[in-house]
């Protein structure tokens, strides 16, 4: 019964050496580990300067970038958002090379703090419009008279503007509403978009009965199909002087794109996209 008993065992004791035998399970586990730990070889981000642009440029700038590329200028990478956020991100070291702000103040402040190459150049003046989705109880009335009535008779549920704290279009919307004496009454009804694009999205999705957004957005086919708009008088708010600037990180490609933006072809696109030419003519 005891073939190879303890005596036998102790003989073998001398043949030590902890050769490790990885079981099948362990081996599978190790393989999986290795596969996961393999450095994921990152495809280098596609080339082209990184451009931070105010959300009101979402449609116009895509078209201009397409033309720039067609003209042999190479690719550019466009990021749209709120101008205030971009200004903050540039301060924190975001790798943008060109910044197109909906409000020149952001550019001038960055310039004063030495974060840009210079004070930049104006590229357009923006307009705000009342945007009303199809089927809304609100009329597309640029004088805001129907909005005032709707506030009174309870027709208005939600009203969208961009966040006035950091989005220039939100600020102008607030100014216009204050000018008409509607601000306090409409405040409980407001939904704030992170930028003007989101405010417009709130309107076109029907989640708000109306909103004040950029004319440039209201003109875009995607929006025009879903919502009507009417311009709000320029005199009711401070001008939306828009300025672009090269940051300290800008390279030659960004410089070329800035030059293209000042050229006639870009001007033409901006002109029919709801932007006015800058007062000083650039």
């Amino acid at each position: 019964m005891l073939a190879g008993g303890p005596a036998d065992m102790s003989d073998r004791m001398s043949a030590t050496g902890s050769r490790r035998r990885a079981s099948a399970t362990t081996r599978r586990g190790l393989l999986a580990t290795l596969a996961l730990a393999l450095p994921a070889v990152r495809a280098r981000a596609e080339a082209g300067p990184l451009v931070a642009a105010a959300a009101d440029l979402a449609f116009a700038l895509e078209e201009i970038a397409g033309r720039f590329r067609a003209a042999g200028g190479g690719p550019v990478r466009l990021v749209f958002g709120s101008s205030g956020n971009f200004a903050r991100q540039i301060r924190q070291g975001a790798p943008f090379e060109l910044f197109l702000s909906a409000d020149e103040d952001f550019v001038l402040e960055l310039a004063r703090d030495g974060l840009t190459r210079d004070q930049g150049v104006p590229y357009a003046v923006g307009r705000i419009v009342l945007l009303v989705p199809h089927g809304s109880p609100l009329a597309a009335d640029g004088t805001l008279a129907d909005l005032a009535r709707a506030l009174g008779d309870g027709r208005l549920g939600r009203f969208a503007i961009a966040n006035p704290e950091h989005a220039p279009y939100g600020r102008r919307a607030e100014e216009a509403l204050r000018h008409r004496g509607l601000w306090e009454a409409i405040r409980p009804r407001l939904v704030l978009g992170e930028n003007v694009g989101q405010a417009a999205q709130f309107v076109t999705s029907g989640n708000a009965q109306g909103g004040i957004v950029a004319w440039s957005l209201a003109l875009a086919p995607q929006l025009a199909a879903r919502a009507a708009h009417a311009p709000i008088p320029e005199a009711w708010h401070a001008p939306l002087r828009q300025r672009m600037v090269l940051t300290r990180r800008a390279g030659p490609a960004a410089e070329r794109f800035l030059a293209f933006l000042r050229g006639p072809e870009a001007r033409e696109v901006l002109g029919r996209s709801g932007f006015l030419a800058p007062a000083d003519g650039g």
Partner: protein, 376 residues
């Protein structure tokens, strides 16, 4: 036995678990560590195996020091050649029976492990079940795998932690026989932790009684159960008849002591260290209580006769277990056994008057309990 052979253990610490342990186990000997739960039995096994580090102590096996002094030597568990069978068996659930046994063979060349593991499984009567996972084995089979795995390391000492508590009674009886046989074959010190006295009496050559981390007495099971070192030990090993008495007189030449047991004089043997008038504890094991027969007088009837009344008779197989209330102190029942036919022939039954003799050589005197719990 040479000075270094076998297992020698000395452990001392105050906290966190108080330990004052001294025990030895010769090669081929089986020592049972008995004591109530919480008495530190498992901690001692762990300290021997290197799984618990006491503040102070010394563990040596066959002259090889595993632990010494204030931590100057403290081999890690994997470098101590121990075979350890856990109470819950602690088999590796992801490995087969064969894999479990082979897992403890790091000291062998890889090519030899499987063959050797098969041999060990055959030794514990598990041939044919090598490929089963622990979950596919019965409790008794798991216990055998655990034993085979403990032997796989070619251990210098085998440690068994309540190895029979998780198997059913019938399996346990069979495993007892197998362990007894294995021990004979293996010739290494075997330490068995158990709270089951019967198990200890059945399997052990020596017995060490533990309480609250202290070893109270070591000796053969017979010694410990008939001559407990203290009332505490007597209580722990459940020696039945534990009483208190006063020393009434002594006869040094004749090695006789006279006791006053609640007014009844008793004679005992020996030269106890206590003066006349001192209070002592005493025990008399079952086997030294002799029934006075009606049919014929037995020898020794004149020795310490105690008349009384049978309070209870429990028949277990061919044995009658009796409780006698002595006439002089009915609150101090004496327990003893006689063969069933003797009980029948003498007409013993509850309520019947009977007398017994407490044989002087069986009366064992001890100091009064240290914990102040005086025997009745």
């Amino acid at each position: 036995m040479s000075a270094g052979a076998g297992l020698r253990v000395e452990l001392r610490q105050e906290a966190p678990i108080p330990l004052a342990v001294e025990l030895a186990c010769a090669p081929g000997e089986l020592t049972a560590l008995v004591g109530p739960s919480g008495s530190g039995k498992t901690t001692i096994l762990k300290a021997i195996a290197g799984l618990y580090r006491p503040r102070q102590g010394r563990v040596a096996v066959d002259g090889e020091v595993w632990l010494d002094g204030a931590g100057r030597i403290a081999l890690p568990a994997h470098r101590r050649r121990v075979g350890l069978v856990f109470q819950s068996f602690a088999l590796f659930p992801h490995l087969s029976a064969l894999g479990n046994v082979a897992a403890a063979m790091g000291h062998l060349p890889r090519a030899e492990r499987t063959g050797r593991a098969r041999e060990l499984l055959r030794l514990v009567h598990l041939e044919g079940l090598e490929g089963r996972r622990p979950a596919e084995l019965s409790g008794g089979q798991q216990q055998r795998v655990a034993v085979a795995r403990a032997l796989a390391r070619d251990p210098a000492v085998l440690l068994l932690d309540e190895p029979f508590s998780a198997v059913d009674r019938a399996t346990r009886q069979r495993l007892y026989r197998e362990i007894a046989e294995l021990r004979r074959i293996l010739g290494m010190p075997v330490l068995l932790v158990t709270h089951d006295l019967e198990e200890a009496m059945l399997l052990a050559d020596r017995m060490t009684v533990l309480h609250r981390g202290r070893t109270l007495q070591s000796g053969t099971p017979l010694e410990v159960t008939t001559r407990p070192a203290s009332a505490e030990v007597a209580r722990l090993v459940d020696v039945g008849n534990l009483f208190a008495a006063r020393i009434a007189g002594r006869d040094a030449d004749a090695e006789r002591v006279l006791l006053d047991w609640h007014g009844r004089p008793l004679e005992a043997r020996g030269r106890p260290p206590w003066p006349v008038g001192a209070r002592v504890a005493w025990v008399i094991p079952d086997g030294f209580v002799v029934l006075h027969r009606r049919d014929r007088p037995s020898r020794g009837e004149h020795e310490n006769p105690v008349p009384g009344r049978i309070e209870q008779m429990v028949v277990l197989g061919q044995t009658a277990r009796l409780t006698l209330r002595p006439a002089h102190a009915p609150e101090l029942p004496i327990r003893f056994s006689v063969p069933l036919h003797v009980a029948r022939r003498n007409g013993l039954a509850a309520g019947v008057e009977a007398s017994v003799s407490l044989l002087a050589e069986g009366i064992h005197l001890m100091a009064e309990a240290e914990d102040g719990r005086a025997p009745p």
